[in-house]
């Protein structure tokens, strides 16, 4: 195995993206909405298609805006259906994203009559190829994906730092938040906008697998290790960053060992995150499987 400067960029970009996704992911997991990342990454299709049909061009900015707008709409529609229909949030989410995806497919087929527009290549970037698309910044050639994900991370950090207290309250007790005068509805939509922007920025540059996995797995693992929000955010970031770096390393090391040529870095990052989650699940000092096992098999009546 040879680790090249390109590999450093890939691992670094993966880590930036993982951090950017895991921060809002913590709030999604706490609000029982962890499937939102998956829903948004499917639901943006009509936004992309409409942006393309309107501008007739595959330029990034209109596409990005179209996708982000549809992402926010997904959250809005989900909220409406949940409230007016009085049904389970998961079901509402599923209805919205499958319908939007189907609508997007039909629009794309219409657009594809005029020009080649393959959903596969318009939609999803691949983290392996980010070093082919660089931007010169002084003496440095920085991959565009690193800048995009760094920007998304910065945005998430700023919003979460500025509204930390409100977001915390809104996640644990929306009723109290409303009573104290922070609109929990407004906070909800703000968070959803953040999720939509992060999701679109990340999957456009490095692919959807990392986004979906990093919004759920590191926060879930962190939640097994702590019950406090700030440690959870920090642990989740550490697990996300660790999965990205280890995952890319594993993607280089593992295939030769199994007799294959190469594998998919995003997939390995998700797999590594899954392994880290499993470690937390087994060894968590407060509620890991080991702890539960020893507690359950201890002598009866033992207060320890």
């Amino acid at each position: 195995m040879t680790w090249t400067p390109d590999d450093t960029w890939i691992a670094a970009t993966g880590a930036l993206c993982a951090l950017a996704c895991s921060l809002p992911g913590c709030f999604l997991v706490l609000r029982k909405m962890s499937m939102m990342g998956d829903a948004i990454s499917h639901a943006v299709l009509p936004g992309l298609a409409i942006a393309f049909l309107v501008t007739g061009d595959r330029a990034s900015l209109p596409m990005f805006l179209g996708a982000a707008a549809t992402g926010v709409l997904t959250a809005v529609f989900t909220q409406w259906i949940t409230r007016f229909g009085n049904i389970d949030q998961g079901a509402a989410m599923g209805i919205v994203f499958t319908t939007l995806f189907a609508l997007g497919l039909i629009l794309i087929v219409q657009a594809a009559d005029h020009v080649d527009l393959d959903p596969g290549c318009v939609l999803y970037g691949a983290i392996e190829f980010i070093t082919f698309d660089t931007i010169s910044l002084g003496p440095l050639e920085i991959p565009r994906a690193a800048l995009v994900n760094g920007g998304a991370l910065l945005l998430n950090l700023i919003v979460i730092a500025a509204l930390y207290k409100e977001l915390r309250l809104g996640s644990f007790d929306p009723g109290l938040a409303d009573t104290l005068g922070f609109s929990s509805g407004l906070l909800h939509y703000l968070l959803m906008t953040l999720v939509a922007v992060t999701t679109v920025a990340a999957f456009e540059s490095v692919g959807s697998i990392i986004v979906i996995a990093m919004m759920i797995v590191p926060p879930a693992a962190a939640l097994l290790l702590t019950r406090r929000l700030l440690p959870m955010l920090l642990l989740s970031s550490a697990i996300a960053g660790g999965s990205a770096v280890l995952g890319h390393w594993a993607a280089l090391v593992l295939p030769p060992m199994l007799g294959f040529e190469r594998t998919n870095t995003s997939g390995m990052i998700a797999f590594t995150a899954g392994l880290l989650f499993t470690l937390a699940w087994i060894f968590s000092p407060t509620e890991g499987l080991l702890k539960r096992h020893t507690a359950a098999s201890g002598p009866p009546g033992d207060p320890a």
Binding site: M35, I87, G90, A91, F101, A213, V217, A220, G267, A270
Partner: protein, 441 residues
């Protein structure tokens, strides 16, 4: 554009290809509608989403194993087995997370979805360089329109099996969905039932995935049951309706796609189901939004009328005993309750429309009609009876009783009123208010 004859021919399944596709998707809609109903009740609608992604690594690994065993690598039974095994592993992993941590269903599903899908992507990228791997992904993005007879036979076999199992275990699954704790405490094998239900879902998902694709099978498991929920409160009726909505979406959607060759069948079926959902959300007879709104506004109107008439009666009481029907200054009414001016005007117009108020030349003097006066004394009497009942039998302080009475009196039935009267005899025909009545000015 298709002619009328084309449309009829397609809907009535006259062409062979259409018949295959339409029957296959309709059967799949039926089976997933029924299994999806249980998922919805267990608040696990996105299970289909998690499961269909969780089959991904199994497909890649089955392919690699079959290649190394010297086979073609794309034998359908092998791939289906791989998908099922990995789907079941995903389900077990999800149940393990749910039962041994405090993470909720949605996190467990999201974990399985993303980690299995990522692993699948890694496995797929590894085996991609092997000969014959091209086209493996069509397994994930199956196309409804290219369904062949063997697919339909498989769908029918699995669909009938799943439907029959679900109906045979209807009682057990019902208990599991509505009261898991009760089921466990009375000795039902809850975990086994849970696994069994998810195995049924896995069977439907894997079959559907290969035949019609990922997004359609997710939609099939969620949309029909949710739509059916708006029409009924009974599980049996919901199952029948959900199956029917799934089947009809499959039939109509596939028919439309047969008419417009370039539109993807899966997407059209989802949109058909979504249209049926929207219709149910609005007009459903059990929980539909429109009916709920109508009910609410009817109740609001009734409460408004009762408040107005009671206020009028209470003012008449202050104008002299015995209470007689005389004109009431509008200003007194406005002061009596905290009504806004336009609200009072609306209530008065409504009362005039219902003939409770005499149409008079002077809008600032309100004169109750004969029936309005009778209604007002009846309403006031009910309110007082209820207040007395609360004071004597429910130990509620007289100062708090008005609001409590107000919450319940609008839904008092005639039977209840009779019971209250019997309870509170002997009393004057219209009892006095327990509140201090302001002395007449």
């Amino acid at each position: 554009m298709p002619t009328l004859q084309d449309i009829l021919g397609t809907i009535l399944l006259q062409s062979y290809n259409t018949r295959v596709v339409v029957l296959g998707t309709a059967m799949l809609g039926l089976a997933s509608g029924i299994t999806g109903a249980f998922l919805l009740l267990r608040k696990r609608s996105l299970m289909g989403d998690a499961l269909s992604h969780a089959t991904f690594p199994g497909i890649g690994i089955a392919f690699a194993l079959m290649i190394s065993a010297g086979g073609s690598g794309k034998a359908l039974p092998g791939l289906l087995t791989g998908a099922t095994v990995s789907g079941v592993l995903g389900v077990l992993c999800m149940l393990a997370i749910r039962n041994t941590t405090r993470l909720r269903d949605d996190v467990a599903m999201g974990f399985v979805l993303s980690v299995f899908f990522g692993t699948g992507a890694a496995v797929y990228a590894m085996v991609q360089t092997k000969p014959g791997a091209a086209g493996l992904e069509s397994f994930i993005y199956g196309k409804a329109a290219s369904m062949v007879l063997s697919d339909v036979l498989l769908i029918f076999a699995v669909g009938l099996l799943v439907t029959a199992t679900a109906l045979l275990l209807l009682k057990e699954l019902t208990v599991l969905c509505f009261d898991e704790g009760f089921a466990a405490s009375t000795g039902w094998p809850v975990l086994t039932l849970d696994i069994l239900l998810l195995v049924l879902v896995t069977a439907v998902t894997v079959t559907g995935l290969q035949a019609v694709g990922l997004v359609l099978i997710i939609a099939f498991l969620i949309i029909p049951p949710t739509a059916a929920r708006f029409w009924t409160h009974s599980l049996r009726r919901m199952l029948v309706l959900s199956g029917a909505i799934g089947a009809v979406s499959g039939w109509l959607g596939a028919s439309v796609s047969a008419l417009f060759a370039n539109l993807p069948a899966g997407a059209l079926i989802v949109l058909t189901a979504a249209t049926l959902f929207l219709f149910s959300l609005l007009f459903g007879t059990a929980r539909g939004v429109v009916l709920k709104r109508i009910d609410q506004s009817r109740l609001q109107r009734r409460i408004g009328r009762q408040h107005l008439l009671r206020a009028a009666y209470e003012i008449l009481e202050t104008m002299g005993q015995p209470v007689s029907n005389q004109p009431i200054p509008r200003q007194r009414l406005l002061e009596h309750r905290s009504w806004a001016n336009p609200e009072l005007s609306r209530l008065l117009a409504q009362a005039r429309h219902e003939d409770h108020i005499e149409p008079g030349p002077n809008p600032s003097l309100i004169h109750l009609s004969e029936s309005g006066f009778g209604e007002a004394s009846r309403i006031t009497r009910n309110h007082r009876l209820w207040e007395l009942y609360l004071i004597t039998h429910a130990d509620i302080a007289p100062s708090h009783v008005d609001r409590d009475a107000d919450l319940v009196e609008h839904i008092l039935g005639a039977e209840m009123v009779r019971a209250l009267e019997a309870e509170l005899k002997p009393r004057p025909v219209i009892p006095n208010s327990p509140h201090r009545i302001p002395s007449p000015p």
